[in-house]
Amino acid sequence: MNVVGRYLGNVGDWIQTRLLRDIRQEEDGTSSAPPDPQAAHADLRVVFVNRPQPEKYTSNRVSTAKYNLISFLPLFLFEQFRRYSNCFFLFIALLQQIPDVSPTGRYTTLMPLLFILFISAIKEIIEDIRRHAADRRVNVQEVEVLKGYHWQWIRWSKLKVGDMVRVRNDSLFPADLVLLSSSEPNAMAYVETSNLDGETNLKVRQGLAHTSKLLEPKDLNRFVCTVECESPNRHLYEFVGTLRELGKPAHSLGPQQMLLRGAKLRNTMWVFGIVIYTGHDTKLMKNSSFPPLKRSTVDKVTNGQILWLFFLLIVICVISAVASEIWSASYLSSAWYLRFDDIVISNFGFNLLTFIILYNNLIPISLQVTIEVVRLIQATMINYDVEMYHEESNMCAMARTSNLNEELGQVKYILSDKTGTLTKNVMEYKKCSVAGNVYHVDDDALSKRLKEGGGSDAILLKEFMTLLAVCHTVIPEIDSLGEIKYQAASPEIPDARYDEWKQRMEEARLSMHMREQKVADAAELIEKDLVLLGATGIEDKLQDQVPETIAAFLLANIHVWILTGDKQETAINIAYSCKLIDPTMALLIVNEDSLDATRETLLKHVHEFGEHLKRENHCALVIDGRTLKYALSHDMRTDFLDLCVSCRAVVCCRVSPIQKAEVVDLLVQGTNAVTLAVGDGANDVAMIQRAHVGVGVSGQEGMQAVCNSDYAVAQFRFLRKLLFVHGNWCYHRMCKLILYSFYKNICLYVIELWYAIWSAWSGQTLFERWCIGLYNVLFTAAPPLALGLFDRVSTAETMLKYPVLYKMSQESQFFNFRIFWLWVINALAHSIVLFWLPAWAMAHDVMWPNGKEGGYLMLGNSVYTYVVVTLIQYFYQEQSGVDLAFGQSPVR
């Protein structure tokens, strides 16, 4: 029965399409009139059919690869040396090539650097070879093109704009086409768009009646026309064009006539189409842009600290070089045994370089590689988590990027979509109301009444049911077993207003409210004389455990904001039912329709808060899209943000996708807080890309959100484990890994400074060369990896049980400027003890009963051994999550 609801849900598909076009034109400020050929718009494409194209368009050959043979080396090196650390180590490696400058040999930095670059290059090459292979497979596919009066098979890559093509059943469209005619009556064609949006249902496309008779090559050959259309864009569900034939009235083209590259022809013998957009101009390719590169807060802090550490390094080097200068001046002239007759020994500049090389490993060269390996494995662990597997949809969690694992532990604001994210987005038919009678889905009153007949209500009921059965987009498909499958389109969310409209459907007040909307003139004309037959009631349930999850988030000091295209009442209701707001909360509802009124209301509320502003208050802010537009204008942003962060919850309704992203921007720019945007539809993509962490819910609405997300989960409730357990763990692990890596390098290499005091500030290394070379890659490689992979600050159960534990990572308690420098100071302290104790203990040189003395490597190797032992011991101390050094008590 619930299918009925869906039927009706799709009655308005075409209305929606019209609506969309109107809305877009409104937004763009263009008129709704068809494109005028005289007004030569820059963003207009005119395709000449059966005539040569005056313009040259992009080839239909696609390339998604990052590199080719020639560009690989420069591009790859450019990518690599955009990282500070790689530049730094290259600089060191170059310095070491200057004769007599390096205290550690010529290749001790170059080799590890080349190794790291080599590993990265192999990874890039493997990935790119796969892309090249995939591209080639695509480009060599063939399609039939009309040449004169014959169809000729050509490769996809040779296809040009304006070509007429024939596409057969079950083949992919080679480019974006305008449908002319098909094997089916009235130029109907069925397409499957799962490659584009993940929806597996079939969709109907229909050519213009005017072109549906073009069934033979000779007809097509004679068909001379122009197609005016928008310049290429990424809107999958939108298309505005005009087909003009000489001396005939123009016909408007819409998404109904579009056959998009990436889609597949189904249940249709063949179609004829005109190529409109090729190659990278197609909507598919326009949508496959690379997501913005995001970096985690920990990453940024680390990079900042590296700069500080570099500064510290320079300071130490200058001190050493100055000391060397002083020592040389006072000693060297009388030291006959050090008479090297060149100037290098006492040249300040050269000495500075020597010390930079000597101390350069204060900045750990292996950190970047370690971090990347650890993140990759952490991401795998997220994918493997059986508790985030959703049986019904057969989906597990998916970490699409691994750069942000630790950012999951620091989320302060969750900006959530409503439909499909908090709710199931499964529209279930509950009841209908016809002629004043309500029929529930569970009782058979309706069928009884239908059978009985008689009476005006029965006629209306029959009419109502007929309408439901006719006005829909369900496509029956007979499968191989001979069973009929109904391919119903699930509701799409390409625009926020559609939410609104759908909600109206749910509320079953479509026909009454539609008039309030700015509907296209044509639509309005049709709808003028509508008769209200009845209404269906449809329910969209909350997903499992949404209230519990939100309650846990609130305990963890995570603010949850709902951003929905839905109308206000529904949004508030959902916010109540998911326990985001409760009846004791004051609701600040801001609905204004002018800039001034908005400003007035916002300022009023700001004043009411008084000194409670910017603190959390027991209230919630509700604002609609129109008011939001004003509130986000430049002069009110700050006040609005202050107001938002003063409330426990914020609900934004009737907001467009762009507005969702703007709210994220407001938070990102106005606060230092980490934001997480979660949504399931194409309208959430902007918000998902803009937030620090974007999470896609792989729900009913295709893969758009998931494809643009950083992490994908099947259900909203999985966010809880993703944040509280994986986020928290990853944060702690990454912090410890980074701190420990810095600690261990500082601890060892500052000893070189202490030794410089005794070695005439000459830059002599205390340690044996191989010990230095193998320090990061062998002797102390395991502890950071172990910390990054296995350290558990507390068990998953504990962290889920006590959401308050999340605050530790959320508030950056384990990695900030203070902690970092405490570790540095700790490392300095350890290095002092580790150098001076052995130095004093071995001051007498003779360590054995045989009376022989050890020499400097005896001291160096001993100190080195003690350093490694101390590091391992420190690792055991750190892995417990107990930080004795800084007096932080364990919480578990």
Binding site: S334, P849, V891
Partner: protein, 358 residues
């Protein structure tokens, strides 16, 4: 539900413990109950260790004699004399007294102060292949400027052993006379270097013949500061001649600090009064003084020392152990007071609620 979800193979993760991060783990929870005993155990264990170390160190007999400014019979210091005539040698004598007789093997060291054997340029100024006997090769450029000796304007020969370390080899010699018997104390000049050094890092050129030692060193020059060529080191001492000379090897092992000592000789126990150690009594040290140190404020010392299980005399380690042990005890006691006054029970520590301040 997406169509075809049922047709796909199940994506359900296998749920093995390692993937679910549920491997058994152990974390030490540091509570007063575990930390305090640790403090006391360490404190109590360290003090006896320290006492033991001190005992060993104190058991070592040690005598030092600074002869930097020793005077010749005409009242001038040798230091001044060799400064006036660089490369010359000067003889001076010093009397000293050993009050107690020593037991055990006695080692003779020379000690230098303010001598930077650990200077970076100095440390690398050597050619390890040359030291392994390849004396025909062009010396490593690290040896510069002690790599070649110019014989005339156009001709130069490699220096063997090249480099600053070899060039500055300590070349004073000692002679100790036991005044009570009037006999010279017999000193052994072998067994000074590490076996590994002798076997692996140093070797004479192939074809080295002790009888005609200079043969294989033809067309090489002695280091500038040396008075005799390398093949005359350890002359007439089998296995101690040329590049494997132990004095040389000992010098070539760079010291860690500017104040250091190096083994000079071992007192032979195959002589009267020294069979079981070192006899008490008066001694006279005769120094053949050639090594200049006063210019850079260095000093030279003669050291006589026995050894313990832990080498020479150095009370530092023992004292350090005792101090650390005491610190642990004191800290432990302080912690006990803190614990009694402010501490929480383990039960309190682990019962964390959302209200618990942290």
């Amino acid at each position: 539900m997406p169509n075809g979800a049922n047709n796909r193979p199940s994506m359900r993760p296998r749920g093995r413990a390692i993937e679910q991060q549920r491997l058994p783990a152990w974390q030490p929870i540091l509570t007063a109950g575990t930390v305090l005993p640790t403090f006391f155990v360490i404190g109590i264990a360290f003090i006896p260790v320290g006492v033991g170390l001190l005992y060993f160190s104190n058991g070592v007999q040690h005598f030092e004699l600074d002869y930097t400014y020793c005077k010749t019979s005409d009242g001038k210091t040798c230091a001044d004399k060799i400064a006036e005539a660089p490369g010359s040698s000067c003889e001076c004598k010093i009397q000293f007294n050993i009050t107690d007789s020593w037991k055990g093997k006695v080692y003779v060291y020379y000690g230098l102060t303010n001598f930077y054997q650990n200077h970076r340029r100095y440390v690398k100024s050597r050619d390890d292949f040359q030291l392994l006997g390849d004396v025909k090769k062009t010396p490593d450029q690290e040896c510069r400027p002690f790599a070649f000796q110019s014989l005339n304007a156009t001709y130069k020969e490699p220096i063997v052993p090249c480099g600053a370390i070899a060039n500055s080899m300590f070349n004073d010699t000692f002679q100790i006379t036991f005044s009570n018997s009037g006999k010279e104390v017999k000193l052994l000049k072998t067994g000074l270097a590490w076996e590994s050094d002798k076997r692996i890092k140093f070797a004479n050129p192939s074809g080295f013949d002790p009888a005609n030692a200079s043969g294989v060193f033809l067309k090489t020059q002695k280091p500038i500061n040396w008075q005799k060529p390398i093949y005359n080191l350890g002359l007439n001492e089998p296995g101690n001649q040329g590049l494997v000379n132990e004095d040389f090897i000992v010098w070539m092992r760079n010291a860690a600090f500017p104040n250091f000592r190096k083994l000079y000789a071992i007192v032979s126990d195959d002589q009267e009064f020294f069979r079981y150690g070192f006899a008490a009594g008066n001694y006279e040290l005769t120094v053949s003084y050639t090594f200049p140190v006063t210019k850079f404020d260095g000093t030279k010392r003669l050291m006589l020392s026995t050894t313990s299980l832990l080498g020479g005399k150095n009370p530092f380690l023992g004292i350090a152990y005792i101090v650390v042990g005491c610190l642990f005890l004191v800290t432990g006691i302080v912690f006990i007071f803190v614990h009694i006054k402010y501490g929480k029970t383990t039960q309190e520590m682990i019962s964390v609620t959302p209200q618990t301040p942290y």
